[in-house]
């Protein structure tokens, strides 16, 4: 065994090594800290984990497991900046519920990762801390907005990292970086302490190396939170592999929304890779059935309206008074205006203005209310679709990682989000699984989606698809 192998270990493998005395948590954490130093050029962190020895819990399902956390999730032992000058020195007084649950399970919070400011972006280039780079090709972006967290797992820094997903911000970087990215159903996991971007879309998600590791975090993080009224009070399914093994191919019905897939312009290698993936499904005995989602082409437009409207409303709280950046001003109005003008980056200002526009008098009915009705129609179409199939599959992203500095334009980034945004709009659970690489060796993923609160079915299907993608080899 070499220490370089440790960088590929899953949570299960790591815990087995702890249990049989193969290595101690302190040795492993020291290894992870060396990986942080070796990967420093990737700029994955806004706050790196502390160099001094960390107290490690002996008990708990995640005892001694380092988990990096996206820097828009509140932590009492690290500043929480949301990658914004506005919150550059913000020290939360409470942990987010997900962070508290990680700590209770014995995890070590392993630094705070880079993101697009307030989660607004698809490249992790819109950060006051500078861009996060792709670990396989530093001329490319890691994806976003949870790019730093994706890189932590992809570069072997730690086995798991939390992100947040508003319109694909976990699944898209997972696809670009070749790791597993999971977004639970909206309402399944507490958002208390997640700095809000668009509240009806935001959801904490996570990156891992395997589906089983994603299930471990689900067992720790899912469930009602009395301090978050939007976190629903319903039974959390057991998704442990013992309880939900990989589906038998003959028992799985996979929906293929071909109308949706054919609408999206894709990189040829990604298209070919996805077609190959579907053929593998069919050859293994999975029933692949076409599903029709007629309104899906309206999803991106509805998302643009809803996300910018909610962002404009949520970010109104940053006034320079209670916390965050305060600029000088002769009166309150000037202080507030200057604090916001100096504290927010370009992309955030742009989205706030667009949101104010769609919410302004005369437009709110025409755009915002209509977008919410379109969303209702899309939710209903998905619901009917999942009466016919167990899960649906699409590519996660139409391309592999973009070149850095590529001008995507106001709609360009959204065009790359065509497969992930409708799922967010409907609040469905979804997972991006590594599915192949293009001619340059850059990864791409497939997205598996289940009905709302259908995580049990999702994990069973994802385990089978993971096996098929790896040519039948199972991890460890």
């Amino acid at each position: 065994m070499t220490t370089s192998e440790w960088s590929t270990w899953t949570i299960a493998r790591l815990q087995a090594a702890y249990a049989d005395g193969q290595l101690s948590a302190q040795e492993y954490l020291a290894h992870c800290l060396r990986r942080v130093e070796q990967s420093g050029g990737l700029n994955a962190f806004i706050s790196e984990p502390p160099r001094q020895p960390t107290a490690v819990a002996d008990e708990g399902i995640l005892a001694g497991v380092p988990v990096a956390v996206k820097d828009n999730i509140c932590t009492t032992d690290f500043v929480t900046t949301a990658a914004s000058e506005m919150l550059q020195e913000y020290q939360p007084v409470q942990d987010a519920t997900v962070v508290a649950r990680l700590r209770e399970a014995g995890a070590v919070i392993f630094g705070k990762t880079n993101l697009d400011e307030f989660g607004m972006g698809a490249t992790t280039e819109h950060s006051f801390a500078g861009p996060t780079l792709h670990p396989l090709d530093t001329h490319r972006v890691a994806g976003g907005s949870s790019g730093g967290s994706a890189v932590c797992v992809a570069a072997g820094i730690c086995p798991a990292a939390l992100g947040s997903d508003t319109g694909g911000s976990v699944r898209q970087p997972a696809s670009f970086c070749g790791v597993v990215g999971f977004k639970p159903s909206w309402g399944r996991v507490s958002r208390r302490g997640l700095i809000a971007f668009a509240s009806s879309l935001d959801q904490v998600g996570w990156f891992t190396r395997t589906v089983d590791d994603a299930a471990v975090l689900f067992s720790v993080l899912a469930g009602a939170d009395e301090q978050d009224a939007t976190c629903v009070d319903r039974a959390v399914p057991d998704v442990d592999p013992g309880s939900v093994p990989a589906c038998e191919p003959q028992q799985l019905v996979v929906g293929l929304p071909t109308g949706w897939i054919n609408e999206v312009k894709m990189q040829p290698a990604v298209k070919a890779g996805f077609q190959q993936f579907v053929r593998r499904l069919e050859e293994s005995g999975v029933c692949v059935r076409e599903v029709k989602l007629h309104r899906i082409e309206l999803a991106s437009a509805a998302y643009r309206v809803i996300a910018t409207a909610e962002a404009s409303s949520n970010l109104a709280r940053y006034d320079g008074v209670r916390y965050g950046k305060r600029a000088a001003g002769k009166d309150f109005d000037q202080l507030c205006r200057r604090s916001r003008t100096e504290g927010f980056g370009q992309e955030v200002k742009r989205r706030i203005m667009l949101g104010a526009y769609v919410l302004s008098e005369g437009y709110v009915e025409q755009y915002y209310e209509q977008a919410c009705r379109v969303r209702g129609a899309i939710i209903e179409e998905f619901r009917q679709g999942f009466e016919q199939v167990d899960v649906m599959v699409t590519p996660t992203t139409p391309t592999t990682a973009y070149q850095r500095g590529q001008k995507l334009g106001p709609l360009g980034a959204y065009a790359g989000d065509e497969f992930v945004v409708p799922v967010s709009l409907a609040g469905l659970p979804a997972m991006s699984l590594p599915a192949g690489v293009d001619e340059d060796g850059m990864p791409f993923g497939v997205q598996v989606t289940a009905a709302a609160f259908g995580e049990r079915r999702l994990f069973g299907a994802a385990r089978l698809l993971e096996e098929l993608n790896s040519g039948g080899e199972t991890d460890e």
């Binding site: 020290q91 007084v93 159903s185 909206w186 309402g187 509240s199 009806s200 009395e226 009224a229 939007t230 629903v232 009070d233 309104r295 309206l298 437009a301 509805a302 643009r304 309206v305 109104a316 008074v321 209670r322 916390y323 965050g324 950046k325 305060r326 009166d331 309150f332 109005d333 202080l335 507030c336 205006r337 200057r338 916001r340 003008t341 927010f344 200002k349 742009r350 706030i352 203005m353 667009l354 104010a356 526009y357 769609v358 302004s360 755009y367 209509q370 977008a371 009705r373 379109v374 969303r375 209702g376 129609a377 939710i379 209903e380 334009g409 106001p410 709609l411 409907a426 609040g427 469905l428």
Partner: protein, 103 residues
């Protein structure tokens, strides 16, 4: 004079609403973005969604009351530490201008 684009958007008004100052370049960029946004969302304006209730969030939420037990409040000193300026145990800000003040 209000700064309007072809579609009648009053950028000055939007700026006031969201408490941001934009420079000329940002205003030009915003006008272009607004036109593109308007074109890209035009499609939803006339979609027939008659009878569909607006989904303000993806899941129906039921109001849930927590137990009527007092909870430990935040420590005032912790809250004050987040603010840039404090005075006698309170967050301090310059006075808001009254409606009679010149801006």
């Amino acid at each position: 004079m209000a700064d309007r684009d072809g579609g009648g958007v009053d950028i000055d008004h939007l700026q006031r609403l969201v408490q941001l100052d934009l420079d000329d370049e940002q205003r030009r960029g915003l006008r272009k973005d607004l036109r593109q946004l308007e074109q890209s969302i035009e499609g939803i304006k006339n979609v027939d969604v008659e009878g569909v209730s607006p989904a303000y969030q993806p899941v129906e939420l039921a109001g849930r009351e927590r137990a009527d037990d007092p909870d430990a409040p935040l420590e005032i000193k912790d809250v004050l530490e987040g603010a840039a300026q404090q005075q006698r145990g309170h967050i301090s800000v310059p006075a808001a201008p009254s409606s009679h003040d010149d801006k």
